[in-house]
Point group: C2
Chain length 212, copies 2
Amino acid sequence: MPPVSAPSSRTRVRRLPDRAHYDADTVAAIVDAAMLCTVAFQIDGTVHAIPTIHWREGGHLYIHGAKASRMLKALTAGEACVTIALANGLVLARSAMHHSMNYRSVVIYGRFEPVTDPGYKLNSLRAFIEGFYPGRWDTLRPITNKELNATGLLRIALSEASAKIRAHGVKDDEEDLSWPVWAGVVPLHTVTGEPVAERDSVLQQVPKTRLG
Amino acid sequence: MPPVSAPSSRTRVRRLPDRAHYDADTVAAIVDAAMLCTVAFQIDGTVHAIPTIHWREGGHLYIHGAKASRMLKALTAGEACVTIALANGLVLARSAMHHSMNYRSVVIYGRFEPVTDPGYKLNSLRAFIEGFYPGRWDTLRPITNKELNATGLLRIALSEASAKIRAHGVKDDEEDLSWPVWAGVVPLHTVTGEPVAERDSVLQQVPKTRLG
């Protein structure tokens, strides 16, 4: 059984706590299944939230960007809240109020720390590319020191995180079960379409991606 | 041509401003294409960000939830930032640094206002259901006054919003174009799977959903 207590007060799921999970494996699986997270933070008391690409290594979620970016600067100066949400299904009930979605989500609290060691940065960017496109890193034009230096890399620990999952059928009221309307779940999937090669792409062999 | 200036300083896109759009039609189309947004807000100086279902009517984005929810209470007490991000494609370049994603995103700033008039609430919940499942509202067990009263409904104007779109091919450096690796875009699509009817669902006719 996963641990049932939250790692901190702000991480504790208040609405529908029976959907909450706090174990590291559940959190990691949701982080890995998504490519985009939303990073919320403050600048001078104003809340900002920006979607960005992420990846995971061990107990940390990583993001990257131009070193000069306002977000990357703000993130090392204060607390952040990272959100990931994956829609897995449309839940159609017999009453409007019980319509819902199946989803997996994660909320992470903490402070990002910069990753500055060049060797560590290089390995982490490799993990990013290899995580999404296994085997691709060694086939790419090698990264230059200038590129590596211009890239800001930040990570946040997954220690103060909670996951929330809805993965079941319709929960209508007992007295509505005979109402004559279709009720059930319509699954949602993210799929890859036909790859579109650049006109000047040298090889025509499409790489594998983790998403399909 | 869409307007090129941001409606406010905090809405102005700073990173890659050539991807920015500030016109209402572009913002509305992205809001409509997504079912989940992330709402970021503060409680006692701590930033929280929570994914939730949304819909649009005219110039507002709507969310709903239990009236007692901490988020709904906090949202009417302070400023919020709403983010929507849709991943449309994986961009595989010849160099690690130019790997990217095609996406459409929206960031909205402002303060949510409660919608309390019962008739207005009823119409908005109908718009929510009809927007996702055209024709479904009238087939459902009618909403009760108790349900309507227990539902908190909030809306935020789309007037202080920006959209950001990447929808093009690979942008490698000129000198890398002959590097012998596949380069191109792998499209991402969200599709609906085979509907799973509740065992006690009376009708077997699956409703239409806006998502496919």
